[in-house]
């Protein structure tokens, strides 16, 4: 329940955003994020809500980290969690 996952905002419609998580697109609510979000921004997602707009200077570092998790072989201990969260996200209609 506690895993935060960053993704790239594809489009914004009011308080709803379509966010891309390495090819999986899903709806994320923008109700609680602290700054205005536009397409192209990166956000930290938690249970379907963006809780932070990740500052541009931190984006590369954060995403690179998660990319390595996803690219890691099966035994990478954290990849399973990220995949699990994304699978749960993917089941949701976007």
């Amino acid at each position: 329940m506690c895993l935060g996952v960053p993704g790239r905002v594809v489009e914004v419609d009011g308080l709803l955003a379509i966010v891309d998580f390495w090819g999986v697109r899903r709806q994320v609510r923008l109700d609680v994020v602290d700054e205005p979000v536009v397409a192209g921004d990166y956000v930290l997602n938690h249970v379907g809500f963006a809780i932070r707009r990740i500052p541009a200077e931190d984006v590369e570092q954060t995403l690179a980290l998660y990319e390595t998790l996803l690219a890691a072989p099966e035994e990478d201990p954290m990849a399973a969690d990220v995949h699990g969260e994304l699978a749960a996200a993917g089941r949701k209609r976007t």
Binding site: M1, C2, R29, H46, I54, P77, R91
Partner: protein
């Protein structure tokens, strides 16, 4: 993006070893055995256990997992309320982690086996969508810390359908740190604070705690080097007797946190005293809906008949469960007579074995404190 080079910042083994050596030096400089520190986040325990970090900790450094698993601290009567509602015929939507956790008598999964309708959701928005598609009453059984509570708050503020109500078992982390700090048996000398909860509250929320107790708090992230670096900084503060709050997770946590989220959180919820499973009564540790949202509060909409559950005697095994001592940092899972034998992830007795964030579950899957000396 150079994704090949970047992970070195978080996982580089050489940096890891250097940090572990620094932990050894700092523990010797402090000169006490053990030096006990506590983290309050299931994700920290997962990082520690999965990457085998305990094997690199100095023997005299005791890193304890405190009450950092939101599922585990959801109290028996709170689960009872959800179970009772489900058995009364109300559809209960909730996060998957909580479904197999027992209340006084049984779990939501047990109720489902008896015909109750339980809906597992990834997000509160799915509960809202479900309510919009049906005329049935839907109760969202809301568990989790402030990070999850803000999502519930946003749903409440977004004009939910009239057949949706909220059964809040949300918990607020900072008050329980006070409780643990005052438990004489734990002797915690420093805290690693959970990074994602602090994304919401900001690190300044811990300053009154430090001022009252003289115990340092370091906000840390969830990669191995995040955890090791957080511990190094924490031990420095303990050694130097300079208790303060230090933020070692600046990529997600700021001093003030997410003000918009805080504003919504406190518009919807008020802090109330209540029990955390196995820990204690925690003043201001529970989040309950404000009177303004009474019409959405499942506790007010329904007469919840929990008493009928209490006629069922709790299983004898559950009485031997020491989850409370484990979450208070007084005992480790290996001290429990049930651990790994009569209590396993397949047939859990206590909440700590049910949730993927529970100490017992994590230790069962990844091992707890490996003794490398014993293997030569």
């Amino acid at each position: 993006m150079n994704s090949a080079a970047r992970p070195l910042e978080f996982r580089d083994p050489a940096r890891g070893r250097a940090l572990a050596q620094t932990l050894g030096r700092l523990t010797r400089e402090i000169g006490r055995d053990p030096v006990s520190v506590m983290h309050v986040c299931g994700s920290h325990e997962q990082a520690i256990a999965r990457f085998g970090l305990r094997a690199s900790f100095p023997r005299a450094l005791d890193v304890i997992m405190g009450p950092g698993c939101p599922v585990c601290v959801t109290d028996l009567p709170e689960v009872d309320e959800a179970v009772a509602l489900a058995l009364q015929g109300v559809r209960v939507a909730t996060y998957g982690d909580i479904v197999r956790v027992r209340g006084t008598a049984c779990s939501l999964a047990d109720a489902q086996a008896e015909g109750a309708r339980i809906e597992v959701v990834y997000s509160v928005t799915q509960a809202v969508e479900l309510a919009r598609r049906t005329d049935d009453e839907i109760v969202f059984f809301a568990t989790g810390f402030e990070t999850t509570a803000v999502a519930t708050a946003a749903a409440v503020l977004d004009d939910p359908p009239p057949n949706l109500s909220v059964l809040s078992a949300h918990k607020f982390i900072p008050p329980v740190m006070e409780i643990v700090a005052e438990m004489p048996a734990t002797r915690v000398e420093g805290f690693l604070a959970a990074g994602h909860a602090a994304t919401i509250t900001g690190w300044e929320v811990f300053e009154p705690f430090v001022a009252r107790h003289g115990i340092p708090v370091v906000v840390a992230g969830f990669e191995p080097l995040d955890v090791l670096a957080g511990l190094v900084r924490l031990l420095e503060l303990i050694r130097d007797r300079t208790p303060r709050v230090v933020n070692m997770y600046p990529r997600c946590v700021t001093r003030q946190g997410n003000r918009a989220a805080q504003e919504q959180l406190w518009r919807v919820f008020r802090a109330a005293g209540g029990c955390w499973r196995g820990i204690a009564h925690v003043p201001n540790g529970n989040l309950r809906l404000r009177d303004e949202w009474a019409h959405l509060d499942a506790r007010r909409r329904f007469r919840i008949d929990v008493a009928r559950l209490w006629s069922q005697v709790p299983p004898a095994l559950a009485q031997q469960c020491i989850c409370g001592d484990i979450m208070a940092g007084i005992a480790s899972p290996s001290a429990c007579a049930l651990f790994g034998s009569r209590c396993t992830p397949e047939a859990p007795v206590g909440a700590c074995m049910v949730s993927s964030e529970g100490t017992c579950r994590i230790w069962h899957e990844y091992g707890g404190h490996p003794d490398l000396g014993a293997t030569g």
